[in-house]
Subunit: 363 residues, 2 copies
DNA sequence: CTGAAAGCGCTAACAG
DNA sequence: CTGTTAGCGCTTTCAG
């Protein structure tokens, strides 16, 4: 392996000069810089990651914790993960992939060993067991998702409450008075996953404001489950003229079942989804939907992290520094606070005016 | 940060003893071992990853390269990635997530810098540009997937050719004489992705052997695309009584369209899929299918890698380093060779005897 | 069975 | 603008 010292020798300079050429942390004459760069090139030099991490206490690695269970939102998860990796690279960071399996211990491990200098958490739950680790002088971190108590934490997420409200507004504006919500699998709610509950709150609150009826039903994925839920919905509320779906695996079954039971979309029934764009656009009826901006979420998470990280050397936080910081996690955390991306509703072919006979257009 | 020296002091032993307690590379008396372990516990000691990597030339990190484009097989990809991460942890390794974006350069980077000591490649193409890097004294590596020329490389994959053959056998056994294949998006074939072509070959070969007609059509995801393909299929070959689908996003649209055009599954038309189990099981008609064993693939890949890696001494030569020191890939690669997992066909509700009037039961 | 000590390759004060 | 020099924390000879 070719080392920095060899490069220095080859270029006729000292080791530190090579180091500084690489880091740009002090002025270097053009001539020297060129010489060093040439030597690096010729020798095919690559700095040793471990040595760097040891000497600088910076590993340039961000740990990304993805959920172990892949029972939901799988495409979104991968898309976020890839976006995180891509954005991280753009800032000179690499990404370490952690599964939820080890739980909080994994965070302690990668962080305590200096393997990763920061973490991004996906699939955050309302009362997430990993959060205490982050709060207690933990490593710089950003959550993709919103826990019950985000105080002292940095979070990025879609504003699911607003997304829910937006769906209801759209449907109410079209005259729908009875709306049914096909939600995530019961397990998702049981785990108290923030986004599902927030969406529901947004839906309910706006429905109440607008005087529309709202019926919510969790739903496992797959055709059979959707069939069951759908039957019960129409049984309980025959006047339902619109659906909001937040469950990727329920989208096609729902459309198929509506079709089969003789309900045309959007003439008889409107459908609005909260899902990734491709799912909505490629559905058998292109769906009016609120997109889940996976790429954007990943990118933002990394950016929050990196802006904090780069303001590093032994200095107090650049802005709004927390209380006394002295623990091992003295690294500059990103500014705490919640960043909610505004939802965007795209109108496609699945939503239309409420049928006159059913819900009754509001006068 | 608490260091090994502090642990040593606390336990009243030397630094090397602590190190050896940790590595188990030399006999330690029970008493000493217990004392050291206690100190480690009490002080909450965690070895510094960078220092370790530097001193031992082993980072205990495996790089996993996932495809950048997430246009296909997304759930499978994530499942494999998670399986890799989980299996790696079980062997004491962590996983670095690389996207295809940087291409071969990423491999050189993480490998040349000692960041990762081995790599796993997903979504391998027939003539993959990353392979030269691996062949030329590259790092220990395993491919999930099969390139055109796997010589000198270690690969794990489902035996897609056998999977294809299996599908045809099953259908032919049920009396179907005209089979249509709904394949991956044209882009997948254009990129010469191995698995798609191998499946096709398996399908064609066995169909020829059994004297069945086979019509193959690549297909973009989504309802509209499938509708177009389907129409043309029945136009060209009205006698088609069975479908093989290898495209997750085409499964539901296909079923919906068959239904809508009055073809009952499996009474009029049989459908067999090559896809992950959940997709097949949750379809609107539970599908007879050949599973893609994502977990197994991830696990095997890691195991191949690790068995090679552990048979590797700490480092190469004595100090005073000789100049002739192989490239970065001086490590022990896993035994080259291709490991193909045997496909398993699970019969569900979507396949049945060919209708008498259509394809004509073989006498 | 245990200690002492020499680095691994790099960064970041200190000196010019 | 550049060089010298301590380490960063750990592994691994070499001695005992």
């Amino acid at each position: 392996m070719v080392t920095l010292v060899e490069v220095a020798r080859h270029a006729g300079v000292s080791a530190s000069t090579v180091s500084y050429v690489l880091s740009g942390k002090r002025p270097i004459s053009d001539l020297t810089r060129r010489r060093v760069r040439d030597s690096i090139e010729q020798l095919g030099y690559q700095p040793h990651a471990g040595a760097r991490a040891l000497a600088s206490s910076r590993s340039r690695i961000i740990a990304l914790m993805v959920p172990l269970r892949t029972d939901m939102y799988v495409p979104v998860m991968l898309e976020i993960a890839v976006a995180v990796a891509t954005a991280a690279r753009a800032h000179g960071y690499d990404v370490l992939l952690l599964t939820g399996e080890e739980g909080p211990a994994a965070l302690r491990r990668v962080t305590g060993s200096g393997l990763a200098e920061a973490v991004i958490l996906m699939d955050v739950q309302l009362d997430d067991e990993r959060l205490p680790v982050l709060r207690a002088a933990g490593p710089p971190s950003v959550l993709v998702g919103l826990p019950g108590d985000p105080s002292g934490l940095s979070c990025v997420d879609l504003d699911f409450a607003a997304a829910g409200a937006l769906c209801v507004e759209h449907l109410a504006g079209l005259g729908h008075r009875e709306i049914a919500v096909i939600g995530e699998a019961p397990g998702v709610y049981a785990r108290h996953t923030g986004f599902a509950e927030r969406t529901l709150r947004g839906l309910r609150d706006r429905a109440a404001e607008l005087g529309a009826g709202l019926l919510h039903r969790p739903c496992e994925g797959g055709h059979a489950a959707v069939a069951g839920v759908l039957a019960r919905v129409f049984d309980e509320r025959p006047g339902v003229s619109a659906f909001v779906v937040q469950n990727e695996t329920a989208v096609e079954p729902l459309l198929a079942l509506l079709r089969r039971t003789g309900r045309a979309v959007p003439e008889d029934v409107s459908v609005v989804a909260v899902c990734p764009e491709p799912v909505a656009a490629q559905a058998s009826v292109p769906l009016t939907s609120v997109a889940i901006p996976a790429q954007e979420l990943g990118r933002r998470a990394v950016e929050r992290l990196v802006t904090g990280l780069s303001a590093r050397p032994g200095d107090i936080g650049p802005r709004g520094g927390g209380p006394a910081d002295g623990g091992p996690g003295a690294g500059a955390s990103p500014a705490p606070g919640v960043e909610l991306l505004a939802p965007v509703l795209t109108i496609r072919d699945s939503s239309g005016p409420a049928p006159a006979g059913r819900g009754g257009v509001r006068s």
